[in-house]
């Protein structure tokens, strides 16, 4: 088991390092000189050269990469050109919006999807199954930002239950803050829940066809007990895989959804930073999101070992 975990950890670290090289390289070849951008069109060549020196832009590539990567490790992401504050402060502030949003959405999606999948699989082919899977089929097809617009129309414009957008900040109190995250979270979660419900159902149905389910039934256990005790745990592996992938989708989804709801989150930050050519911010946020995806996938790998004894005893 240790060997398995170490191997996954090593792979995750290698992926992280490669990813950082990719991010750094991509943004290195970006057109546009950040020094010129900061000083404006009227700056003289000397002024620009001076600033380039100060920003370390004239140093050799490898040195700049190592400096940047070292900074990432010590949480020193540099200063934003446009906001003129340390990037880490910006990130911390924005993360307070994006992280709760993604986590609420993930929780919501799981809480909806797993029971629906179980329900559907246990009454395969009957009306309940057909209806819930029809709904899931529809849910998969709905773009989350359009769904968000429709939610705004119904719940904010029409019923006036929640604000249509914006974020009051956590200082305004937990409830108002949560309230303004509610619609975005639902908009993010439902399409993902639809996918997860379908995966859960098909994984369960596959497992229910296995020989050991028949063995369990031959022991005299009722169908429902077999479903809970024998089928569910075996069906968890594909479900976990999808959960890991969904986290990446949710992160990416926040970029759009935060724009729909005018939420001051990471996604909106990175989107604005690109239009403003605020390189350091783009680099840092992209790196942070990629690291999050890699970390979650590592977590999924570890949880396989918890679910499946065959992985545990590889050693």
């Amino acid at each position: 088991m240790i060997a398995y975990l170490l191997k996954r950890l090593a792979i995750a670290l290698a992926t992280l390092i490669l990813a950082s090289i990719v991010v750094f390289a991509v943004l290195e070849i970006l057109p546009g000189d950040p020094a010129r951008l900061m000083l404006g069109m009227n700056a003289s060549a000397d002024q620009i050269e001076l600033l380039r020196d100060q920003m370390g832009l004239n140093a050799p590539l490898i040195w700049r990469y190592l400096h940047w990567a070292g900074g990432l490790l010590s949480l020193d992401f540099g200063r934003s050109y446009t906001y003129s504050v340390p990037v880490i402060d910006l990130v911390r502030e924005r993360l307070a919006v994006s992280l709760p949003l993604a986590l609420i959405a993930l929780a919501l999606s799981t809480v909806i999807a797993i029971p629906v999948g179980l329900f559907s699989a246990s009454r395969r082919g009957r009306a309940g199954d057909t209806i819930s899977m029809g709904a899931a089929q529809l849910g998969v097809a709905v773009p989350n930002f359009w769904f968000a617009l429709m939610l705004i129309y119904v719940f904010a414009v029409w019923l006036r239950l929640v604000p249509a957008g914006g974020f009051p900040g956590w200082s305004a109190g937990i409830w108002p803050a949560l309230k303004s995250l509610l619609l975005p979270a639902v908009a993010l979660a439902l399409p993902q829940a639809a996918i997860l419900a379908r995966v859960t159902r098909s994984a369960l149905i596959e497992v229910l066809n296995e020989d050991y389910i028949r063995t369990a039934r031959a022991k005299g256990l009722p169908y429902r007990t077999v479903l809970w005790r024998h089928a569910l745990r075996n069906a968890m592996i594909p479900v976990l895989t999808i959960l890991g992938l969904q986290f990446a989708f949710l992160l990416a989804g926040t970029i759009i959804i935060e724009n729909v709801f005018y939420l001051p989150g990471l996604g909106r930050l990175v989107f604005q930073a690109i239009t403003q050519r605020d390189l350091i911010v783009v680099e840092s946020v992209v790196m942070l999101l990629v690291a999050a995806v890699i970390a979650v996938n590592l977590l999924v790998d570890f949880s396989y070992a918890a679910v499946d004894p065959r992985l545990r005893s590889r050693s």
């Binding site: 792979i11 290698a14 992926t15 992280l16 490669l18 990813a19 990719v22 991010v23 991509v26 943004l27 070849i29 970006l30 057109p31 395969r124 082919g125 089929q137 529809l138 998969v140 097809a141 709905v142 773009p143 930002f145 359009w146 617009l149 429709m150 705004i152 129309y153 414009v157 149905i205 596959e206 066809n209 592996i237 594909p238 990446a248 989708f249 992160l251 990416a252 989804g253 970029i255 759009i256 724009n259 729909v260 990175v270 989107f271 690109i274 783009v282 992209v286 999101l289 990629v290 995806v293 890699i294 996938n297």
Partner: protein
């Protein structure tokens, strides 16, 4: 994880007969054909010219003259939805082409070679998977500027590891079969075996994944053009139309409803088509009935 592939043993006639009895397939097929026809028609005819702004007709609700209403420049929404379909389909289709064209050979090669080559290719796959499509699209757009082509590249790159994984998993399930051993005993090289035996047997798997990625591509393209990173005006696109609709939700909800419905119907059709194909060709799913 290993993949089990049941190879259906049927004639084309039998498959067609089954297709006509499969509601998911039929519905999906009809929807997909209709959307394609709509996009094709838009090249020769649309109810109104989508490039002409008629300010006098701006933000009108659905009527006989304008079935889906008009936008804030007085353009006919139905016409724009028709033209927008071109863009969505083109972007998603080319992106699937890129994904399949690069991913399938990579995956099949990795499975045939095994060992270090396999390991290396899969690690590169992991790397690409670490960049959610939208994120890499944003990076690509940041370098080259927004536009439909860059949207295609971004979505296409994300499709590559998807197809590589599916092709590899499928090929790994085929390789241990005895008929492969028989081909090896007949002196065939691994390339010949891949082309003659492996690819034909994973074709349906790839076809199903293709429809799924097609549908996902439509969604991704809509998202990118909603953010202004996809097709640029005046070329209408479904995502852009939704962006324009957002600030006018109260006054002109139809501006948001119809383009959104177009996306939902298209994606639904493609997903049903994929489900239908999988259903028809996979004997395992039939056994579950």
């Amino acid at each position: 994880m290993t993949l089990h592939i049941d190879i259906p043993e049927e004639t084309l006639g039998g498959i067609l007969a089954k297709a006509f009895r499969n509601t998911a397939f039929l519905t999906g097929f009809v929807i997909s054909v209709l959307i394609l026809l709509m996009a094709a028609t838009s090249y020769v005819w649309t109810p109104y010219d989508v490039t002409k702004l008629v300010i006098a007709d701006k933000t009108q609700g659905p009527s006989l003259a304008h079935w889906f209403g008009t936008d804030h420049f007085g353009r006919d929404i139905l016409s724009m939805v028709m033209v927008g379909a071109r863009n969505s389909i083109a972007v998603a289709l080319v992106a699937v082409g890129i994904g399949m064209g690069v991913g399938v050979p990579l995956g099949a090669f990795a499975a045939a070679r095994g060992g270090l080559v396999d390991e290396a290719l899969m690690r590169i796959n992991d790397l690409v998977f670490a960049f959610p499509a939208l994120l890499s699209a944003i990076m690509i757009t940041a370098i080259f500027g927004p536009g439909a082509v860059n949207a295609i590249i971004a979505i296409g790159i994300f499709n590559i590891p998807v197809f590589a994984r599916v092709a590899r998993a499928g090929a790994l399930a085929i390789w241990p079969r005895e008929f492969i051993l028989a081909a090896r005993a007949a002196g065939k090289s691994s390339t010949q075996i891949t082309i003659e035996h492996v690819l034909p047997n994973i074709a349906t798997l790839l076809l199903v994944q293709g429809t799924i990625q097609f549908a996902l591509g439509i969604l991704a393209e809509a998202g990118l053009s909603y953010l202004g990173l996809g097709a640029q005006p005046p070329m209408p696109s479904w995502g852009r139309m939704l962006f324009d609709a957002q600030t006018r939700m109260v006054a002109a909800p139809w501006m948001a409803i119809f383009p959104g419905m177009a996306i939902v119907v298209t994606v639904l059709g493609l997903n049903l088509l994929g489900d239908g194909i999988a259903d028809i060709l996979d004997p395992k799913s039939r056994r579950q009935r």
